[in-house]
């Protein structure tokens, strides 16, 4: 119930923001550099699991319930499918990239890229960054919910105070 020692708690608190920032960077630059929603989401979920191991699953379950994680995961899935259906509405087909290379929607993510090895421009690729964000939210909430629920259930069923 008390989690691990004070050293582990402090150091996990120091490392946690760095890991979260790195994971969000991987998600946000998914259309420019290697990585994307799945990979960055796994990094952020790993950081959250590190906090859960250090402080204990019961403490973590008091802070955030798996109900709220389910809401976030469903929001990510709905955003992903909603963007795909917007392709059907604004473009021609399901999953059509209706924001790429156009001035539509205030030119958000609509810059063109020349066919060469250009410098990274984050304002490109249409719906790809938005889909990366949706999938990233889904993976963060989903993986963290899986680990949190399993750890909490085993902890409760054993009746012990480890983790």
């Amino acid at each position: 119930m008390n989690g691990m020692s004070k050293i582990v708690k402090t150091m996990s608190g120091v490392v946690f923001p760095l890991a979260v920032i790195f994971g969000l960077y991987v998600i946000a630059h998914g259309h420019l550099t290697p990585g994307g929603g799945f990979q960055g989401g796994a990094v952020v979920a790993s950081a959250c699991v590190m906090i859960m191991i250090a402080y204990g699953s019961i403490w973590t379950m008091k802070k955030i319930k798996e109900k709220h994680l389910s809401i976030f995961e469903s929001l990510g899935a709905l955003g992903f499918i909603g963007l795909a259906f917007f392709g059907l509405i604004f473009g021609s087909v399901f999953f059509y990239n209706f924001m790429a290379n156009t001035g539509n929607f205030l030119g958000i993510f609509g810059d063109q890229v020349a066919f060469e090895s250009t410098a990274a421009n984050i304002n490109t690729a249409g719906v790809l960054p938005l889909m990366n964000f949706a999938v990233g939210l889904k993976v963060i909430a989903g993986l963290f919910a899986i680990v949190l629920v399993m750890a909490y259930a085993t902890n409760k069923s054993k009746g012990g105070d480890i983790e």
Binding site: F95, A100, L128, M131, V135
Partner: protein
């Protein structure tokens, strides 16, 4: 026929019509070959999608349905785990 069955039939008919039109509009079997697809994606990713990362443009644009399936698998896994461990909480 209940309302729920009627709605299911209508949804099924819409999806079937969409799939039939998609099947009519696709290429012939065996065309384009695999190497053609590789070269097409390498040549046209930056012009069509506008992304510098060709892998992400394949995952989220050219093969969007594959990513939708992966997201569905993750959703099913999370739902299964939460349902399985729900009884142990109280």
């Amino acid at each position: 026929m209940s309302k729920r069955n009627l709605a299911a039939y209508i949804f099924f008919a819409i999806v079937a019509v969409c799939l039939i039109f998609t099947a009519i509009g696709t290429h012939n079997f065996g065309y384009p070959s695999e190497t053609d697809m590789d070269q097409y994606i390498i040549d046209n990713t930056q012009e069509e999608v506008g992304a510098n990362n060709a892998v992400t443009s394949v995952v989220f644009d050219y093969r969007g349905f594959d990513t939708l399936g992966e997201a569905t698998v993750l959703f099913a896994a999370v739902a299964g785990v939460i349902i399985l461990f729900r009884r142990l909480k109280k």
